[in-house]
Symmetry: C3
Subunit: 139 residues, 3 copies
């Protein structure tokens, strides 16, 4: 059994999703773990994770549209407004998606479905550098 941790950063271009599957797969391969789990963890409260459809870009465009509607930046009644209208809504969109995901590893590969990719979901309007922590545990 081994347990190894790693982290990496990505630069986002403002609101939207970025595929981080290759970066996570690379850490899994380098760990040497054949059977076990990989945990992906976003170290921020205004960005989050989703495991999402990776085939048709329109599915990701509609995801962005949906969150603009469900958690609109122009809603009134918030008090945490110092950093602008997209700050509080970024926390709420993060809460509705995920901070951590754990994916089983079998025969040295993540057991992702055919159409699943791991995405960082940036909720701030401006570009940010985001840190992702990764832990691989197994044999």
């Amino acid at each position: 059994m081994t347990a190894t941790t790693a982290s990496f950063t990505i630069r986002t271009r403002g609101k939207g999703t970025t595929d981080i599957t290759p970066a996570v797969a690379d850490i899994v391969h380098r760990s040497g773990v054949a059977e076990g789990t990989v945990t992906v963890f976003v170290q921020h409260t205004s960005a989050s994770l989703v495991i999402y459809e990776n085939a048709d870009p329109t599915a990701r465009a509609d995801l962005h549209t949906f969150f603009e509607r469900l958690v609109p930046d122009d809603a009134t009644g918030y008090t945490h407004t110092l950093e602008g209208p997209d700050d509080m809504t970024s926390h709420l969109r993060m809460v509705l998606t995920r901070t951590s995901e754990t994916i089983p590893i079998h025969r040295r590969e993540m057991m992702l479905g055919t159409w699943q990719g791991i995405y960082l979901f940036e909720h701030r309007a401006q570009p940010h550098t985001r840190s992702i922590a990764v832990s691989v545990v197994g044999v």
Copy 2:
């Protein structure tokens, strides 16, 4: 320490929740792990996981009602519409619930609360065969 992976499929009957707790418990028991974790992972982007109240069926009926309202199939403005009106909404309902859950194991049993069951949440209108990956890690 051991790390074992398994998977199983279930046939859904269209939209709704199916209790997969017995199938996961069986994998935990067969793993021989007494202390550790079990990770349950849905290998799809139009079905998801919830750990939900297992006593009163009305709670699950209301869950279904809530998602029909929060993410209505007849919403306009989506572009990912090739597979019908329940396709895009199935991705969104998946994103708002979970793809993976990790449950502590103590004395060979999952540490579920009294009223907690593990449910597959099917979001497509038609029946589907769904694959669930399971990883058990521990001593």
Copy 3:
């Protein structure tokens, strides 16, 4: 490699968030694990977990406001109403947040971001005693 499980309870004061980061950190430190993961699991279906901004209390106040609006207690059409108007909505708010979170451990510390805290999110109006299960796996 070791795998240890623990649990603790907290008393909530009704709806709202309670910081459980110190309690989880204490279990991590006592486990002796330097590299690995900690899984935090809420054993209830009317309370949940969020990893949330820990610096400005207004961000948490707005979180509470948001869920009162997104899942209003006075919505009609639910059938699971025996325990009062905040019972069904507590299940729905739980489903939209998290039951489990897994956090990588590096050099004996959780790899939380600077502004991240682990919070129990109580969704019932009355105070409750809530049980949290914790599993630490690693080297």
